[in-house]
C-alpha cells in the first residue's frame, strides 16, 4: 500500500450515491471531495497528492461488497464509507482481510464490537448519541414518559433500539412506540397516535424530509409537548423544509455545521459556496475523517495502512495538528470515535446551540 | 337416419343462459345419438354459439342439465370434457398465432397421449408426428405447415381450427360454423371427410352452420333455434320446408 513519493495516495470512497441512501451519501462524497481538493491544493499529504475514487453501493449490501472488492483490487490507502450499517456489515470483513482501515458513517452499535480492528467510526455510535439524549430528556426536559417516532429503516431501527435501552435505564416510560416508513408523506396517523398517548415529550428520529413532514403535521395538529430529536431533526435542511413548524424543536446534535466554532462555520460556508446546499452531519463526518487521516498520517510520517490503523486505536487528532479536523476527536480500541457534541434548539428558523457536551472520555 | 342406439351421446335438458337478465338460450332440450350428425341452424343471435359454450363449459349455464354418455357434465371444465372425447371449434378464429401449423396440431393432440410425466420426459412430438402429417395433408395445409398460424389466411386458419378439433380422436365434435370462409371445393372434401370419420369411427357431430347446401348434404337431423328456443327439429327436408324456419331463417 505504500509506494514511491511520485504516485498519489489512493483513497476509496465506497458510498451510497444512489438508492435510498443517495442524499446523505452524496453529501458525504461531496465533503470528502472538497477536503481532498483543499489538501491537494496545499501540497497533499507528506508531499504526495491524494486521489479519491467513488464506488456507488446503490444502498445495497450485495453491491457494496462488490464495490469494496473492486476498491481493494485498486489497493487504496484507506476506505471511506459506507454509511448504511447493512452495507458495512456486508463488506467490512473484506477490508479487514486486506488490512485496510475503513472509516464508516454507520452508527449501529454492534459494528465496533465484532473484533474488526480496521473499522473506525466517523461519527458517534447511536449508543453514545442516545446516551446523551437520554440525559437531556431526563435532566433538562424532565420528561417522565416519551413517545418515540422512528423511521423503520437501517438508520432508524438502530436508533430506536438504542433509545429504548437508554430510556429503560433512565427509568423513563415509553408512552408510544411508533414506526414510520421512509418516504412516508402523511404523518397524520402518527401524530394522532403520539398525541393520544399524551407523553411529556415526543422523540423524533427520521430522515430529513420525513422529519420535516412530521414537524408540519405536528404543528397542524397543534402538538404542545416538546419535540426532541437527535442531530437530523435539528439540521438546517429540516428547518428549511419544515418552515416555522420547526421552531421549538430541540435535542442533541452530534455534529453540527452550526457549531459555535469558526472552523466549522468556515467549512459550512465553503461547502455552501461550492455545492449550493448546506452540509449535513454526514458531510461533516467525511470532511473530518479525511483530515483526521491526513493528520494521523503526517504524525506517522509514512503512508502505511497497517500503521495507520494501529495509530488510530487510542489515537487522538486535534485542530492543533491540523486545523481542519475542526474539533478534537479520539478513537478507542474498538474504533469508536468520541467528540464534543451539542445541545441545540430551533429558534425562529435557525439552529441555536444551547450547550456543548464534553467528550465522555475526559 | 340414426341407428336406434338407446343412450344418447349428448343430452341437453332445458338449458338456460341469460346475460344481465336478457335470455340468450331459453330452455333448449335435445339429444344426440351415437353416429348422428346434428345440424343446428338459426338466425344470427339466436343463441347457437352460446348453447355450445354452455354445453362445453366455457360459460356456466343459468339453468339446465348437460349429460355426455349419461354422465352429467354441467359446469365441468372444458379440458376435462375434452378428455372425455368431446372437442369443438369456435366461430371466431381460435388458433395459436405464434406457433407453426404443425405445432398447433401437436398441441391439439398431446394432452390425449400418455401422462404428465411422459409428456415431460417423452418424445417432443408426443408420438403425434404421423397424425399431424395426415391432417396437414388432408386439409391442404402442406405448403404452410411450418408457417406461423397467425400468418395464415382466414380460410386456412378456419381449416386448421377444424383439424385441431380432430387431433385428439374425439367421439363427439361440436363445430361452430366450420364452413365460413372455406373454399367450396375444400368444403366438399371436408363434408366427405366428416361423413367418412362418422361412418368409420362412429363418432358423432353437432354442426352450427349457415351454409344450407353444406348442412343439407351433411346432417342427418337438423335443429332450428330462434331467440334461444327450439322452433323446429327433424330431417333436413322437413326442416327446409317448415314455414316457421323459412320465415325466421331461410327467407323466401
Amino acid at each position: 500500500t505504500a509506494g514511491s513519493a511520485a504516485e498519489p495516495i489512493k483513497i476509496a470512497d465506497v458510498i451510497e450515491l444512489s438508492g435510498t441512501g443517495a442524499t446523505t451519501g452524496t453529501n458525504w462524497r461531496n465533503a470528502a471531495a472538497m477536503a481532498i481538493d483543499e489538501i491537494n491544493a496545499k501540497g497533499g499529504i507528506l508531499g504526495r497528492q491524494v486521489q479519491m475514487t467513488d464506488y456507488d453501493t446503490q444502498t445495497n449490501p450485495g453491491v457494496s461488497r462488490a464495490q469494496i472488492q473492486k476498491a481493494l483490487d485498486g489497493e487504496p490507502y484507506v476506505i471511506l464509507g459506507p454509511i448504511f450499517s447493512g452495507s458495512v456489515k456486508a463488506n467490512m470483513n473484506l477490508a479487514q482481510q486486506a488490512e485496510i482501515p475503513q472509516f464508516v458513517g454507520a452508527q449501529a452499535e454492534e459494528l465496533t464490537h465484532l473484533g474488526d480492528d480496521y473499522l473506525f467510526r466517523a461519527n458517534l455510535s447511536q449508543g453514545a448519541g442516545m446516551a446523551k439524549i437520554a440525559n437531556y430528556i431526563h435532566d433538562d426536559i424532565k420528561a417522565k414518559s416519551i413517545a418515540v417516532v422512528w423511521v423503520n429503516n437501517d438508520f432508524g431501527k438502530g436508533g430506536h433500539d438504542a433509545i429504548l435501552k437508554q430510556m429503560a435505564s433512565a427509568g423513563i416510560k415509553i408512552a408510544a412506540d411508533i414506526s414510520t416508513e421512509s418516504g412516508q408523506a402523511d404523518f397524520a396517523a402518527d401524530v394522532v397516535k403520539a398525541k393520544s398517548a399524551n407523553p411529556d415529550a415526543i422523540f423524533v428520529y427520521s430522515n430529513e424530509e420525513e422529519s420535516a413532514r412530521f414537524l408540519r403535521e405536528a404543528k397542524k395538529q397543534g402538538v404542545a409537548v416538546p419535540l426532541v430529536g437527535e442531530t437530523t431533526l435539528l439540521g438546517q435542511k429540516v428547518i428549511d423544509l419544515a418552515g416555522d413548524a420547526a421552531n421549538g424543536a430541540r435535542g442533541h446534535v452530534s455534529l453540527s455545521p452550526d457549531a459555535p466554532i469558526p472552523a466549522v462555520q468556515a467549512f459550512r460556508d465553503n461547502f455552501k459556496k461550492r455545492y449550493d446546499n448546506l452540509p449535513d452531519h454526514a458531510a461533516m463526518q467525511a470532511y473530518m475523517a479525511v483530515y483526521a487521516i491526513k493528520a494521523m498520517t503526517e504524525k506517522l510520517g509514512k503512508v502505511d495502512s497497517k500503521a495507520l490503523a494501529a495509530a488510530f486505536h487510542g489515537g487522538t487528532v486535534t485542530p492543533a495538528m491540523e486545523p481542519n479536523v475542526l474539533m478534537d476527536a479520539s478513537w478507542d480500541k474498538n474504533g469508536d470515535v468520541d467528540r464534543d457534541s451539542f445541545l441545540a434548539e430551533v429558534v425562529d428558523g435557525k439552529q441555536k446551540i444551547v450547550a456543548v457536551l464534553p467528550r465522555l472520555a475526559k | 337416419m340414426t341407428p336406434g342406439v338407446p343412450k344418447p351421446v349428448l343430452e341437453v335438458r332445458d338449458l338456460h343462459k341469460s346475460f344481465g337478465g336478457i335470455g340468450a338460450v331459453n330452455g333448449v332440450s335435445f339429444e344426440v345419438h351415437e353416429g348422428e350428425i346434428l345440424g343446428i341452424i338459426g338466425p344470427n343471435g339466436s343463441g347457437k354459439s352460446t348453447l355450445f359454450n354452455c354445453i362445453l363449459g366455457q360459460l356456466r349455464p343459468t339453468a339446465g342439465q348437460v349429460t355426455v354418455d349419461g354422465q352429467s357434465v354441467t359446469g365441468m371444465r372444458p379440458c376435462d370434457l375434452n378428455r372425455l372425447g368431446v372437442s369443438r371449434t369456435f366461430q371466431l378464429l381460435q388458433v395459436f398465432p405464434q406457433l407453426s401449423v404443425r405445432e398447433n396440431l401437436l398441441l391439439a393432440g398431446q394432452e390425449h397421449k400418455g401422462t404428465m410425466l411422459s409428456r415431460l420426459f417423452g418424445p417432443r412430438d408426443a408420438g403425434l408426428g404421423g397424425a399431424s402429417d395426415r391432417m396437414i395433408e388432408f386439409f391442404r395445409l402442406g405448403p404452410v405447415a411450418d408457417q406461423k398460424a397467425g400468418g395464415l389466411s382466414y380460410g386456412q386458419q378456419k381449416l386448421l381450427d377444424a383439424a385441431m378439433a380432430f387431433m385428439g380422436g374425439p367421439r363427439l365434435v361440436l363445430l361452430d360454423e366450420p364452413a365460413g370462409g372455406v373454399n367450396l371445393t375444400m368444403l366438399a372434401n371436408l363434408r366427405d371427410r366428416l361423413k367418412a370419420i362418422n361412418r368409420e369411427r362412429k363418432s358423432t357431430f353437432v354442426v352450427i352452420e349457415h351454409n344450407m347446401e353444406f348442412v343439407m348434404a351433411l346432417c342427418t337431423r337438423i335443429l332450428v333455434l330462434a331467440e334461444g328456443r327450439v322452433i323446429a327439429m327433424g330431417d333436413p327436408e322437413t326442416v327446409r320446408r317448415d314455414p316457421d324456419v323459412i320465415e325466421a331463417y331461410l327467407g323466401h
Binding site: D54, Y55, N60, G62, K89, A90 | N82, S87, L106
Partner: protein, 329 residues
C-alpha cells in the same frame, strides 16, 4: 429455429461456456465476484423467462422469491444445515409459495396479475423487515458460510464462481429440455390462447400453477446461491426494484428466447460496471442505453439476433395450391 440458426446458436453457446469457465483465471477478485453475481442472477431470470416468455404469466415477485431462497439458506446454513439441504429447502419452499401465488393468475391476467405479484413482493419485504425473531429484521443475517462439497471448499472467489456456474449450467440444460417438451408447448399455449388451449384438453390451471411454481422455484435456487455469495443478507436487495430489474433482464435479453436470460443478465450486471468510468452519470447512461436498446429492438437482443439470422435465410417458397393449369385430379 432453422438449421442455420440452431447451428449458430449451439456454436456460440459452446464457445461462451468455454470462455466463462476460463474467465475467472485472469480476473481480479472483483471481476470474479461480478461473474458469480451474473451466474446467480441468470438462474432467477431463467425462471422468470419461463413464466413470462413462455407461459405469458407476468410476475413482479421474482425478487421476493430470490429473497425467500436466500433467507431460507442463510437461516439453515448458519444453523449448521449443509448447503445441499438448504438448496432443496429454498427451492422447495419457493416452489410451494409460487404454486400458491399462481392461483390469482387463474382469475386475472396481464396487469392485474402483475399487481397481485407486486403486492406480494412488497408484503414479503415487510415480513423480512419486521419479523426480527426470524429474519434478524433490518440487521439482517451475516456470516453466511459458503458450501464445501465432498471436501472441496468453495470459499475462494474462483471456486465459488465455478460452483455457481455449474449450477447455472444444470438449470439451463433442464430448462432447455423442459421448453422443448410438450410441457413447453402447453406453456406457450397458455400465453397464446388459453381459451382454445382449454378446449383442447390442456389443463390450463395445472400448467399455470406449474409455470409459476417452476419459475419461482428457480428464483429460490438463485437465492440459495446469493446468500453464500454475499455472505450477508438484509431485506433491501429483494425489494420491488430488484423484481423490476429481473424483468428488465428478461425483456432486454429477449423474452421467450432460451438464451435471452443469459444475455439480458449479462447486460444488466456488466453494463453498469463498464459505465462506472462515467462516475456520477453511470446510472443515467445505463438507463438511457436500455431505453435506446428497447427502442431499436423491442424483442430484445435475442430478437435482434433472430432478425439478423433470418436475413441470412433464403426467401421462403410461395405457398402453392391447386391450379387451373394443372389437370384436375
Amino acid at each position: 429455429m432453422t438449421g442455420l440458426r440452431r447451428l449458430l446458436a449451439i456454436v456460440l453457446s459452446l464457445g461462451a461456456v468455454a470462455v466463462l469457465i476460463a474467465a475467472p483465471f485472469d480476473l481480479k477478485p472483483y471481476g470474479v465476484y461480478i461473474l458469480s453475481l451474473w451466474a446467480v442472477t441468470a438462474i432467477a431470470v431463467i425462471g422468470l423467462n419461463l413464466m413470462i416468455g413462455y407461459a405469458g404469466q407476468v410476475s413482479l415477485a421474482q425478487g421476493a422469491f430470490v429473497g425467500i431462497g436466500a433467507y431460507t439458506t442463510a437461516l439453515l446454513t448458519t444453523h449448521g444445515v449443509p448447503w445441499i439441504g438448504a438448496l432443496v429447502a429454498s427451492g422447495g419452499l419457493s416452489f410451494a409459495i409460487g404454486w400458491l401465488l399462481g392461483y390469482p393468475a387463474l382469475r386475472v391476467q396481464h396487469h392485474y396479475l402483475a399487481f397481485v405479484t407486486l403486492a406480494f413482493n412488497t408484503l414479503v419485504g415487510l415480513i423480512f423487515r419486521n419479523e426480527d425473531w426470524l429474519t434478524g429484521g433490518i440487521g439482517g443475517i451475516s456470516g453466511i458460510p459458503r458450501p464445501s462439497l465432498l471436501g472441496w471448499s468453495t470459499n475462494p472467489p474462483r471456486s465459488f464462481y465455478l460452483f455457481c456456474f455449474a449450477v447455472l449450467l444444470l438449470v439451463a440444460l433442464a430448462t432447455w429440455w423442459l421448453i422443448r417438451s410438450p410441457w413447453g408447448r402447453a406453456f406457450v399455449a397458455l400465453r397464446e390462447n388459453p381459451v382454445r388451449a382449454l378446449s383442447l384438453g390442456v389443463d390450463t390451471r395445472r400448467y399455470t400453477l406449474l409455470a409459476f411454481a417452476l419459475g419461482s422455484g428457480l428464483g429460490g435456487v438463485a437465492g440459495a446461491l446469493y446468500a453464500p455469495l454475499v455472505q450477508f443478507i438484509d431485506p433491501t436487495p429483494f425489494g420491488l426494484g430488484f423484481s423490476l430489474n429481473l424483468l428488465l433482464m428478461v425483456i432486454v435479453g429477449g423474452s421467450g428466447f432460451f438464451l435471452g436470460p443469459f444475455v439480458g443478465t449479462l447486460v444488466a450486471v456488466l453494463l453498469p460496471e463498464w459505465l462506472r468510468f462515467a462516475q456520477g452519470y453511470y446510472l443515467i447512461i445505463y438507463a438511457a442505453l436500455v431505453i435506446i436498446l428497447l427502442a431499436f429492438c423491442p424483442t430484445g437482443l435475442m430478437g435482434l439476433f433472430g432478425r439478423l439470422t433470418t436475413a441470412l435465410r433464403p426467401v421462403p417458397a410461395r405457398p402453392a395450391a391447386a391450379t387451373l393449369t394443372e389437370t384436375v385430379p
